[in-house]
């Protein structure tokens, strides 16, 4: 997830300059704010993080997946990223490499450690469940402005925090959603909540992003994401830890040869 922002002060300045509301249509305003949210993410270079994903079924039974991620920022295109799986044990050592693109199809490879095989896989599968969780592939892929069109619905308060309510319509024709409703913190310009509407325009899932931390005084990152499937009652909690930025990762660290060497 790319959700990183400058300080609240500079943000207030940008917002003050960027919001001559009366001059913009709701579509223009929605796009404008979404661009700012995304632009502030630029300049992180590369990052690494550990992830723990807890799947909770209707009866409350939990199962846990652990992963590590590496991301390389690519200017004027989607990021390159790698995910290494540590748990459950039968997928330990499995790793994926993704070159995401704003408009064209992503490129994706999977490393199967027992066979030492790198397999190119189709990236068309956006709606599928990531590791059996409530997160679809399109929910966790690199978020680019061009992947949606927008509409500003208004301003309201979410748990006492003033937010922009922005509707986003997927540009990708195979998306599992008709629309997303983003709740964006007005001051910090960070996403606090997302509602996902299915192809029948019924509320499918609600994502709450919390425990934000301001890394290196530059990058806002959520420590915890809670996705609830409103139709099945199942949920998934994704926790992030050990965020690091500017770790010196290079383009060559995101090749199929590098994928084979991950441990």
């Amino acid at each position: 997830m790319k959700l990183a922002y400058p300080t609240a002060l500079s943000m207030a300045l940008i917002m003050g300059a960027a919001l001559p509301v009366q001059a913009q249509t709701p579509e223009e305003l929605g796009l404008e704010i979404s661009k700012q949210v995304n632009e502030q993410n630029d300049g992180f270079g590369d990052s690494t993080a550990n992830m723990t994903m807890t799947l909770i079924n209707r009866s409350g039974k939990k199962s846990v997946r652990r992963m590590r991620s590496r991301t390389l920022e690519v200017s004027n295109d989607g990021d390159k990223s790698m995910t290494i799986f540590d748990e459950p044990a039968d997928v330990k050592g499995t790793a994926s490499l993704t070159y995401s693109h704003a408009v064209e199809a992503d490129e994706q490879w999977l490393f199967l450690p027992a066979l030492k095989r790198v397999k190119r896989i189709s990236s068309k599968n956006k709606t599928g469940a990531f590791m059996g969780s409530e997160f679809a592939f399109e929910d966790i892929s690199s978020q680019e402005v061009e992947k949606y069109t927008y509409k500003h619905l208004g301003e309201e308060e979410l748990d006492g925090i003033p937010v922009h309510k922005i509707e986003a319509y997927p540009a990708y024709k195979y998306s599992g959603y008709t629309r997303l409703v983003n709740y964006v913190d007005k001051e910090r310009l960070i996403g606090l909540k997302v509602e996902y509407y299915d192809r029948k325009d019924k509320l499918l899932k609600t994502l709450v992003l919390k425990d934000y931390e301001h890394h290196d005084s530059k990058h806002w990152r959520p420590g915890r994401m809670e996705m609830v499937n409103e139709q099945t009652g199942k949920s998934t909690i994704l926790e992030f830890s050990d965020y690091a930025f500017g770790t010196g990762l290079k383009d060559k660290d995101f090749s199929s040869n590098a994928l084979k060497k991950l441990r």
Binding site: S63, A89, D90, W109, P113, L115, R120, S122, A129, R263
Partner: protein
Amino acid sequence: MNCFGSITRCSLTLALTLLSISSVSAEWTKRGDVRLQLQGFTDTSLHTAAQSTNLSLSGSAEFNRPIGENGNLTISPFFRLDEHDDERTHVDLREFIYRHSGDTWELNVGLGKVFWGVAESNNLVDIINQRDAVEGINPEHKLGQPMINLLLLKDWGEISLFVLPGFRERTFAGQDGRPRGFFAVDTDNAAYESGDEEKHIDVAARISGAYNEWDIGAHIFHGTARSPILTFPSFTPFYYQVTQAGVDIQATLESWLLKSEVVYRSGEFIDDHAQMVNGFEYSFYSVAESSVDVGVVAEWLYDERGDQADNVFQNDVLVGLRFALNDEQSSEALLGVITDLDGGADVFTAEASRRIGDSFKLILEAFVWANADDDPLLSQLQQEDYLQFEIGYFF
């Protein structure tokens, strides 16, 4: 470590290696599994091995640690204990390899494992490692190959150069093993075209790269063929010398994966010939609004030599269905049938797996050979249909 000799000596060495590894485990990353396997044979065999069930236990692990700034060591031992088949009771080092990484190059020295190819049914281009064929019908089980490998990393892809000092003979089911043909292969008396026998030094090179939707590789190999000719009547393997050149290509176009592997093989003891696998995989994602993915696989396998081919895929078609439930237990299944287009045999296969709890997995496999009366190779397997249950513990 020499694992070509006595199993006892090798087990001991392995045990000591593992012991020394675990004592400094803080520096090593490790993963692996222990599996209990039960095979059931539905028909009475037409050869000396008469059991209708077979129990075996296997274990594999991979230990990996960095050495200094640019070095890395991987050790991957494997063992199987089999109730009936002495040939299947074996140990191997799948990997014992040191890697040194430079900025634009990499050197790998030791026992290694390399995969080349894109196809599902048969990877013709995958020639570096010998098959550990006693492990199963699927070609995915491989023996560690002694190698010196220099990898040159380029902007456009990579060049991989191999010197392979030392040949590994293919494993086969023994007198008391199933499934197998009428006669057990006499692995103790393997013969070679080269006077250097198993000490012949093979060489290989491959270039590969990914270009948008294309993944392309091309290779050349000169040395001992991995697949032996079985000489009649003693069923002794004969390993001839072969020069092989080939390409493997995959195009990934939304839900379509288009795949091709083509090799041209020549040598003193074989007719020069082409072999190929061409096919596709098409996936239906989230079928009927569910989380289930269904993939359709079709591949055509062809050997220019026709009836003279030393393999069973001279003109065959694989049609398969792949199911991924994408549930919490990662349930998966693959059903397939390989049909001989020249009026020959059918082979039906099924594979399925499902995680149990966090650390266990249940794996099923089945093979059925049918309509094989006119096929001299596959007719021998008609009475060898089996169902295999495996429970694995993963760490």
